[in-house]
Symmetry: C2
Subunit: 197 residues, 2 copies
Amino acid sequence: MSAQPPVRKPRVDAERNRLKLLATAKAVFASKGMDVGLEEIAREAGFGIGTLYRHFSTREALIVQVYRNEADQLAAAAERLAIEQPPVAALRAWMLLFVEYFATKQIIAGALATMVSGRELYATSGGQITKSMTLLTDRAVARGEIRLTVEPLDLLRAVAGVANGGAGSDWEAHARAMVDILIAGLRVPGGDVPTSG
Amino acid sequence: MSAQPPVRKPRVDAERNRLKLLATAKAVFASKGMDVGLEEIAREAGFGIGTLYRHFSTREALIVQVYRNEADQLAAAAERLAIEQPPVAALRAWMLLFVEYFATKQIIAGALATMVSGRELYATSGGQITKSMTLLTDRAVARGEIRLTVEPLDLLRAVAGVANGGAGSDWEAHARAMVDILIAGLRVPGGDVPTSG
DNA sequence: TTTAAATGCGGAGGGTTCCTCCGTTTTCAA
DNA sequence: TTGAAAACGGAGGAACCCTCCGCATTTAAA
């Protein structure tokens, strides 16, 4: 039964090159924008375009991997906030953190927005973010502090819409303000936060 | 001084072809999605690609013209609603209408979203929409029924974010729900709608 | 009606990108 | 050491957007 596939140790050069490509891609995306040609990234890393494509079968695959760390960090923050803060505060804090990612790493804005949108290819990273939002909203709903008439992710989509579209210089402030508008809009009419914690 | 440019009557065939291209583009965009090649549109209309480009100097220019009608209709609706309905109700109704445009003509979602986002090229159509939103929100703010901490357009950006990103089948319902979340979030804390309206 | 100028038309092809394919080179394990 | 498995490089296929310019059609004047 067991075909005993001759497991070869993965070649060290390949992994080293993969990491080099990843790092270079991140740097180049940051300095030249998200729409640079992949050939430029490959050249900058010192490889041929073929090598890049063997490691990352498509442009989107590369982007996903480059920003997986960011998604991981957001997910970790969600779990921490869920433990450390009361439900609505945690939700709000995390959404503001999401905005901050748009702000400090403007470059990845497109990538984050796509993760939040319906594209299939971002399923992995997007799944992280979906999970985070669900975790945070579920708590608040369970305590009766908010009522949810949309999917948890829709809240991020709204924020991302503001952050993406804002040509004005104040888009970050507006995105933050949008978080509070959303939170206010979700609060159940009569429900004050129970001070008993 | 006056060079007296010999004004020639514009050729009728050119205008006829322009309209034909516009109609064909609308149909093809609707049936095959917004990312069809322009060559296919030209062929379907019975022209060469060169003709299409003479009339619409760029892909975006074509899209803008195709959906200018839609933007005009939305603008007209805004003025009507502003007259016929109380401020917040008018604002809500118009935003729901905006969602409806996403729903019935899903295809143009991308175009509408782009108008609402910061792209320069959509300035004309986008300007219409900005004006509509400002008209509607200003009234409600003036009456003290809502407080605005974001640009009027940011509300649409939020809705568009939901409508665009929603892969699920219920995205329209969610976008509508988002409108109400936003309205609720904008309402000034103690302020009930004056029934005397 | 004829004629010349102005305008419109068609589609080959230039320039970019994304991605594939396969001969060559490097690494790993026996 | 050596042979096979895995990785590399880059030419080039495919799909687009858009430009260019010789040819066809329309307009206005003779």
